[in-house]
Amino acid sequence: MSAVYKARTGRQGVPLIDGVDKVTGRALYTADLDRNGALVGRILRSPVAHAEIVRIDVSKACALDGVAAIVTGADCRFTYGVLPIAMNEYPLARERVRYRGEPVAAVAAIDEETAQRALDLIEIEFKELPAYFESKDARAPDAVLLHDKKPGNIEREVHHDFGDLDAGFAAADLVREHRVTCAEINHAQIEPHACLAEFDPVSGRLTVQDVSQVVYYLHLTLARCLELDEAQIRVIKPFVGGGFGARVEVLNFEIVTALLARAAGGKVFMQLTREETFLTHRARPQTDIALRLGMTKDGRFTACACVVTQRGGAYAGYGVVTILYAGALLQGIYDIPAIKYDGYRVYANLPPCGAMRGHGGVNTRFAFETLVDRMARELGLDPFAVRRANLLQAPMQTMNGLMVQSYGLAECLDAVERASGWKERFGRMPPGKGLGMACSHYVSGSAKPIHFTGEPHAVIHLKLDHDGGVTALTGAADIGQGSSTMVAIAVAETLGVGLDRIRVVSSDTAVTPKDNGAYSSRITFMVGNAAIAAANNLKALLTAAAARTLDAAVEEIVCEGGYFRVGDMGQAALSFKEVVAAALVDEGAISVKGAFTCPVEFQGGKHRGGAVGSTMGFSYAAQVVETSVDDATGQVTVDKVWVALDCGHAINPLAVAGQIEGSVWMGMGQALCEETRYLNGLAAHASFLDYRMPTIVESPQIEAFVVESHDPNGPFGAKEASEGALAGFPPALVSAIGNATGVDLHEIPATPDRLLEAIGKSRLKAAAAARKARAAS
């Protein structure tokens, strides 16, 4: 039985351990680092969308006083890319450019003005090629290929077929299909991209400080692209001002800054403008979805067929994973007897897409939940009842080989149904107001790592010294999500000491053990388990030392509240520091480690691409959105949101509540007003004025509930809490708009122009139907 409670009024949790540093401005972000003696790096970007590079002449720029180094594609002949199977991008274009804004050359100079003048002096001759800005144009039979051996400009096709689809549709009382379009969006993290790289020509060592979420991948890629031994490289992540997936693969400017530092034999600082940060992109692709569902008259799903086309931009990036997630995450949330999925990841002459919070699953969830809602309406069923008719029973394995070990979706549904007053209010809202609901889920880390090395998924080192302080060394990148605080709590709770005894040092490849990084919501599950394992190892050493000092057997020692004692005999207890002193005798400073590995049975199905979607545990969420629609202008107001998330166990309820609100809010941005727009491939959205994230004015009250289903494998029973609640918002809002207006939108964001057009069409249709009815009678 899961415990349902309100995050704000239940266990309190603790503020993030670096929170005060951040709000007081003490925290140093990459752009705040000591730039003394650093050259200024700037990138020259392609003004054209698709062209062969005929000639690059940097001689005039080189001759300019104050220019220390210039690099072009000729300076790096190695491709990079986050997936070993799809590395098709150069840090600086060689031979061909494929999108407007692609880096072509870069300069390091004594100041910004000189760097800009040098860029202006670089001469490039392009031979333009046809450019494609829409999936259908890129897929046209006569389209020029962006990449060799990728016919039809398709990066990856996926065809997955589970269960008996024909039998499923035959068993349905209602079969409906709809097509939806989701605009491309961007992470829009507040901190622009920045990198400080220093190359020491004497030792040949490179030190890079950077905004990355994936310090280890950056380390590997720098070694590859600069032909350096990995041992010559150190990568450090200072404080990071938001990631959301923007920095979850190595980015061109990071390699370019390192190339410049080596070429200049010194220190180079590169800070991208907001526009360049948008052009670096790697976010959620524009997606077209055709979805067909079969349902019985009592709301049971019988079959699902889904075709997804993602416009992936000019390079592979995470594309293969994104198009696989879009299909894999149709499973693991409801019981659907047959699922067919066809996915197409398409190249286009636009900035490359990548991973973004809710990676791969968000747009398919939008298509699915809105269709479920519309079919429920047609069958006269309540949206909650339909979800309840299709719940899974944990533990179970899905048709595509995903393991569901804990499942709190039923409790999530109960919580938001009750809190929103759904039963009393749905169908009885005043004109212009509506309610909508949807469910969603997400993985707690990919169970199969991108780079197979045979190493554990996570390793934590703990150091204990004379001061009685425990230093946790983790490669896990805290990007604001609170992972360092989670590590501190996991270690402190396991050792039975206060948080003030724990320090966390994170993300410095010279100091911290390797970690794959902050993505796919892997850190709490994997690093949390590793932290508990490490703390248990340390606790065993301390318990042994306490047993020696107290002259008792190890198994008699009880450790709690910062003290070690023998059973409950009332014998004098040893304080934590006394035990530390005893443990250090003859040994000196202690180092222990803990590791965590996802067992192979969790690593997904045997079919091609079956590893994507695999995880140790899924989070589940349900939400209700209340909205008001102005049908004269099409403007939508989100009045209130009720959301419940099953995160297994809230290690830090305060942080969990923040992450739930953050996911809902980010889902709201995508649903309401965020979208990238290109004019002939030129990004017309590349500022915070034109890329419209919601502001505090349109941020609704969000009532968050935590459901704890106690995952058997999670750290203290925990699962992820940062992404699961995102994907439910867009369908819940669009269903609420439908409830308010009677208009079914098939596009997001639900901007006023789109909505007014849909309202107008729906009125015309209604008028035509009325005329027809009159004529018939």
Binding site: R45, P47, V48, R100, E112, E113, Q116, T273, E275, E276, A632, T633, G634, Q635, L672, C673, R677, L679, N680, L682, A683, A684, H685, A686, F688, L689, D690, R692, M693, P694, T695, I696, V697, E698, T751, P752, D753, L756, E757
Partner: protein, 323 residues
């Protein structure tokens, strides 16, 4: 994509006369709150070697109210305008419009005069140097083609100030100081329908004050935009209406965000004597749709902006009639 400003000199005059004298040189621009000018300078679409900072000119910051009318200095910050008791009592529409501009941080420094003299905006113009260069510039800046209407001769960039339509329907006049002395004129005469040069101010002329009638209570402003703050109007509509015995005595409609100038809709005097009913609302709708000329200067469809303007005009007329 330069984000750093080139070297500029800044002068800080104490009086209007000093400011006007300093501004006579080429490449000089007046600087008030800087929320429009500095952004445009960083993007390279406005160039100025010399800025005349008006922060120290006290004469631009006064608000005087008496029975004959209200005079507001052009240097009055929007936040002060919003908080001013007499202004909110006499002109609620001014407060509605000012409060809809940008965000609190901007409103603390942005001024009445700055909002009235806002540069026109276009998706092809308000972009970085790199962007505009990659797009072969445009008619408003260094180029010879308007990307919005390539066949045409003129620039279609849209005026997007929120206060102008309100002041137009209130019948405001402005006072301008220049090398040749002061002049006073109706606000409408500040603007012409040309996105490249929409202000009639001569070089060195400075908008110093806005003259309002004694009262403008029965007016309202509403703005259509994609998000609730930090967003220019896709369409902004101001309506001022007086009623006599249930019939319209006077009705004025002002528009912004649509044309290259804020527009006082022509022909509304014909509505005098009519009741506010469905026919009247339809007529208002038609008039607005006819005179609003939005083109593709924003990413939102021009057609939508026209429809939204008409819908808001209808709604405001109904609301002001007490319906």
């Amino acid at each position: 994509m330069s984000v750093e400003l080139a070297n500029i000199s800044i002068a800080r005059p104490a009086t209007i006369e000093e400011a006007v004298a300093l501004a006579s040189g080429p490449d000089a621009r007046y600087l008030a709150g800087g929320t429009d000018l500095l952004v445009n300078m960083r993007r390279g679409i406005t160039r100025a070697a010399r800025l005349i900072d008006l922060a120290g000119v006290d004469a631009l910051k006064s608000i005087s109210c008496d029975a004959s009318g209200v005079v507001v200095g052009a240097g009055v910050e929007l936040a002060r305008l919003i908080e001013h008791e007499e202004i909110s009592r006499r002109f609620p529409a001014i407060v509605q419009a000012a409060a809809a501009i940008a965000a609190p941080g901007h409103r603390n420094v942005a001024t009445l005069g700055g909002n009235l003299c806002l540069d026109t905006r276009c998706v092809y113009y308000n972009q970085s140097e790199w962007w505009r260069s990659a797009n072969a510039w445009c008619l408003k800046n260094r180029g010879d083609t308007c990307h919005v209407a390539p066949q045409g001769e003129r620039c279609h960039a849209a005026f997007s100030g929120d206060l102008a339509p309100v002041l137009l329907v209130l019948g405001a006049e402005i006072e301008v100081a220049g090398p040749a002395g002061r002049r006073r004129m109706p606000l409408a005469e500040l603007y012409v329908e040309d996105g490249r040069a929409h202000l009639t101010l001569a070089h060195g002329e400075l908008l110093v004050a806005v003259h309002l009638p004694a009262d403008g209570r029965n007016a309202a402003y509403e703005k259509v935009r994609l998000r609730g703050a930090i967003d220019y109007p896709l369409a902004g509509v101001a309506v001022a209406m007086t009623m006599q015995d249930g019939r319209i005595e006077s009705l004025r409609v002002g528009l912004t965000g649509l044309n290259s100038r804020p527009l006082l809709v022509a022909g509304t005097e014909a509505f005098a004597g009519r009741a506010v009913d469905d026919d009247l609302l339809k007529a208002v709708d038609r008039l607005v749709q006819h005179q609003a000329q939005p083109v593709r200067t924003t990413l939102a469809a021009a057609h939508y902006r026209r429809l939204a303007a008409a819908a808001v005009a209808r709604r405001l007329v109904r609301r002001l009639a007490g319906g």
